[in-house]
């Protein structure tokens, strides 16, 4: 079986003594080494030697990211996920910038630091409450709070401005010991010691225990819910400190300053050696991860990497840094290489690999008749579909409510066919993405390459078609083929290199962005053919053609996920990789297939968007990443995999699109809309909460 797994946790348990200790710190050690090498490279190729001044600047440049990454790491260690980190940075920044007295140049550093940390902890407590006690999935809660916080931030400060006292900047960007220790480094050392202390407390142990196995932790008598709650509070405190630091660094407020940091925060955590899913790694690695990401900026500069190549270079550096951390005798790559060696050896000896050890090791399947249980009466409809319905229903109920509100507020909805037609046309993009991203999530992965797969495929299509219907005949297959290749790269990267899906797909996204820029030379040429445009915008029998297509697509998606063997393998993997493997599922092949499916879905969206807009543009896929994850989870799927139904995800798509349509029809300010959006998403999923989980 070419497919195997880096996912098995028990592998490391076979090791004893020093090996265990080293393995535990492997991620951290690699991050430190990679950082040291990069720093050395910068020093070597820079115009002059690095002075204390340069080091001081480098240390302040990465500090915000490092502090936020420390918070995120603690959440991830406990098995959680926090999308609100970037938004909290912005909120703390504007709170400080608007509440400080512009006349007071000597504001109290300690007081305002505590204010920042307090704001962060307050939001952490809200997140923690919904996650630990209402038992909602972290990704949905933090996605909702992210929107709400962004709205509140804009209400507090609608454009860059405000004032942060120079005393704050003077303190955080100054020196602990002049010409010897810059303050940011001192601060991070303090944070490091704080973590080492906390790790030794019962709370620290509980974080790892809950992250490794919440059920085992609960059985051992740990208070899982309280641990989770405090994890988010502590993490919020670190985001708050990060917000204080960014305020010190910028001396003013900007409501958008933290939001784009979100993906970097996750990248820093992963580069720092923490495994997504919990239980392994630590915040100190993430600090180095953050500095690795920031020093890449300097390296690209000194090497004078052209602008179009910079995202490609970053993607490759990210991959290499993580790959370096995973290289060992047990790593997936090493295993694949050994496997390949075996295969070559077998081929030269003229045998199958399985024959090398002698004998046929396959299980003998003598009894292949139907098992007793399957021959009996079919179970009732409810018992077969009850769970799927229970998780899918809330999205539909919420959608009906939104449509009713639309009818009463704006009129002109329920009995207006245009409304429904627009709703379906606008939903089509997310509905298609939901199949791809949803299938990936069902296996426990995540596809972050969605935005630029959409962008690249759309630009490629428009460039080839150049407004000609005839060209569509060959352009469509070519674009789909390109998508298959993108999916293969993602899938093989994950299966062969044994890397986390987040890292591989994030790197692919960067490479595709560079590829799109190179292909288009900065301005995408060409436009959609008339037929494709008509498909998305004209009316056939009063209905836009894409609506007919969507009906067929939804039927296909439902059958594909719940009635084919591929679909069942996907659920099998999501419920437990080891179990799936032992049951004879070709895990590797299935995973590769899943990422290919996701890439093809993204390509399809790129094609349809090109038809819808009439042309392709750079960044056309940017707005689809978080929604593609949100609809899947709002539709009742479990972010850790194994649970979810396509019809539920479709409900999520319809709910979010109906909600956006309602909000767009009003004249509410953007900030209020963001808050309403977050509240509705949160409300919709409260009904989804997992009642059975032990706490």
């Amino acid at each position: 079986m070419s497919a195997s797994a880096s996912y098995d946790r028990d592998e490391g348990q076979r090791k004893r003594g020093l090996d265990i200790r080293f393995n535990r710190f492997r991620g951290l050690a690699t991050a430190v080494v990679v950082f040291a090498i990069l720093l050395f490279v910068v020093d070597l190729i820079s115009a002059g030697p690095l002075s204390y001044f340069d080091i001081s600047f480098l240390s302040s440049g990465g500090a915000t990211l490092a502090l936020a990454a420390v918070g995120e790491t603690i959440v991830i260690l406990s098995g959680g996920f926090d999308l609100s980190a970037g938004a909290v940075l912005s909120l703390v920044n504007v709170v400080l910038a608007t509440s400080m007295d512009p006349m007071n140049f000597e504001a109290n550093v300690l007081l305002w630091t505590l204010v920042g940390i307090g704001v962060g902890m307050g939001i952490g407590a809200v997140n923690g409450f919904f996650i630990a006690f209402v038992r909602l999935q972290p990704i949905v809660v933090t996605l909702s709070t992210m929107f709400i916080i962004q709205g509140v931030t804009l209400l507090i400060l609608d454009k860059p401005g405000g004032f942060v006292s120079p005393s704050i900047g003077g303190f955080y960007l100054g020196d602990l010991v002049p010409n010897w220790i810059p303050m940011p480094i001192a601060l991070l050392v303090v944070v490091g010691f704080f973590w080492l202390w906390m790790k030794r407390t019962r709370f620290g142990t509980a974080i790892y225990a809950v992250g490794s196995d919440p059920h085992a932790a609960a059985s051992a008598g740990l208070r899982v819910a309280w641990t989770r709650f405090f994890v988010y509070v502590v993490a919020g405190g670190f985001y708050g400190l990060g917000g204080v630091f960014i305020s010190a660094q910028t001396g003013s407020g900007d409501p958008l300053v933290g939001n784009p940091l979100l993906l970097s925060i996750f990248a820093a955590v992963v580069v720092g050696g923490t495994r997504l899913g919990g239980g392994k790694g630590g915040p100190i690695g993430s600090i180095f991860g953050a500095y690795i990401l920031m020093i890449v900026v300097n390296i690209l500069l000194v090497l004078n990497v052209s602008a179009y190549y910079s995202t490609i270079a970053e993607g490759v550096i990210l991959l290499l840094a993580v790959l370096a951390g995973s290289i060992s005798r047990d790593s997936e790559l090493a295993r694949q290489i050994r496997g390949a060696a075996t295969r070559i050896g077998a081929w030269r000896a003229g045998m199958l690999p399985s024959q090398i050890g002698g004998g046929d090791r396959r299980l003998s399947m003598t009894d292949v008749t139907r098992p007793e249980s399957r021959t009996g009466e079919a179970p009732s409809f409810w018992s077969r579909h009850g769970e799927a319905l229970r998780y899918a229903l809330p999205a539909y109920v919420a959608m009906v409510l939104v449509v009713l509100v639309t009818q009463f507020w704006l009129g002109n909805a329920i009995f207006n066919w245009t409304y429904w037609n627009s709703l379906i046309v606008l939903s089509s993009f997310l509905a298609i993405l939901a199949l791809g991203q949803g299938t990936v999530i069902l296996t426990g992965g995540l596809d972050l390459s969605v935005p630029w797969t959409i962008g690249f495929c759309g630009i490629l299509l428009a460039g080839m078609v150049q407004g000609s219907d005839a060209a569509l005949v060959y352009a469509l297959p070519v674009v789909i083929l390109v998508a298959v290749v993108i999916g293969l790269v993602n899938g093989l990267g994950i299966v062969w290199l044994g890397l986390s899906p987040i890292v591989v797909t994030l790197a692919t996204n960067g490479v595709l962005q560079g590829a799109a820029l190179l292909y288009s030379g900065g301005t995408p040429a060409g436009f959609s053919s008339p037929m494709l445009r008509a498909f998305m915008t004209s009316k056939f029998l009063g209905i836009t053609p894409v609506v007919y297509f969507m009906v067929a697509f939804v039927i296909f998606a439902v059958v594909f996920l719940s009635r084919t063997s591929f679909g069942r393998r996907v659920y099998g993997i999501g419920n437990g990789v080891r179990v799936a493997q032992l049951s004879g599922i070709a895990v590797g092949r299935t995973l590769v297939g899943v990422y290919v499916l996701s890439a093809v879905c993204s390509a399809l969206v790129g094609i349809l968007l090109t038809g819808f807009s009439g042309q392709a543009s750079l960044g056309m896929g940017d707005d689809y990443l978080l929604p593609s994850i949100a609809v899947v989870v709002v539709g009742g799927a479990l972010i850790t995999g194994g649970r979810g139904h396509y019809l539920g995800m479709l409900g999520g798509v319809l709910l979010l699109t109906a909600l956006q349509t309602l909000l767009a029809g009003t004249t509410l300010p953007y900030a209020t809309r963001a808050i309403i959006y977050g509240v509705v998403v949160l409300g919709a999923v409260i009904a989804l909460r997992d009642r059975r989980e032990t706490s």
Binding site: A47, V257, V302, N304, G522, L618, D623
Partner: protein
Amino acid sequence: MRLASRTIGTAAVAALLLGGAALTGTSAQAQDKYKIFLSMSYIGNDWQAEAANMVKAMAAAPGMADKVDLQVQVAGPNAQRQIQQINAMVQQGADAIVTFPISPTALNQVVKNACDKGVLVFAYDAEITEECAYNVHIDQSEAGRIPAEWLVEQLGGKGNIVLVTGVPGTSVDTQRTAAAKEVFAKHPDINVVGEAVGMWSQAVARTELSKILATHDWDEIDGLWMQAGCYTANAMQLEAGKTPEGLLPCAGEGSNGGRIQMLSPDTEVEGAASPYAPLGAPRISYASPPYSGGLALKLAVQKLDGGDVPKLTVLPLPIVTSETVKLCVEGTWEEMKAGCNAFQPSIVTNPGWFASIFSEETPEIGLNAALVGQPEL
């Protein structure tokens, strides 16, 4: 090096403006090149790519090429990275940094530090509020007010309008939208029936307008004020069955697609295909011109040469209405100087491409600069 250049500074600038290379050529060979960095923001949109092309073309123009060593870096949408990047540029010994600032305030400290080390910082299009920085941009309030006043006049002071704004939370969007709303507030019979966040993107404008039209009908709307997206709005009206004569007045950005639509329907253009075709659409087209980066670079060199450059250069707001729109045949700087302001679709295949590339101040850069980064010869 800088002392030497200062002595011939004024003469060099004069020669440069005339496009003459003889004097600068000989004097520049004697000195080292200025090390100038471009720190771009996000390159995932047309405007940014076009502006960067024009900066590169300016650096390659005769009289500049032998003076300037330009390196281009991208910071992405992330202010933290731009802070780090500008620091690294200072560390690499930059003489000047030309930047599209991601935030008007977040860069202040790092810019201050760069200035203290004698590095010139020029911001184009958006602004940096730190006092030592040089800013090159249009008056954003005017960019909101003038199109809004035009729209009110077109509608005779009454009617239902839809607003499509830019990126919420940015100074540019806030200033433009506030100025426009102030105008509309003076006319009680102007009703804003829908307001969408357009993110300065034609593609987003289409999705947002589709959402508004799910609950409103085109017949209920009398006019549009958009920071970007009139081209798309016109295309959508045609799809919905409107005739070109029935298109709503639209006040919006200066994309070439929009300019072509403004031409009277009998204009002959090469490579037109509906909706990227002359329609006689009632429009006012304003723009944040992408040549601002090129001009910022030119001013930076002037300053390095010892010339006098004001801290704030407010660019004239390019305004084109259906009456003043004129098709360019080739798109040279000379031709644009004569008053043309829209380009053949056969040359500019992307309708979202920004057409306001003409400036009296920058004879070095024309259509080829914006398209492929080549200076005028």
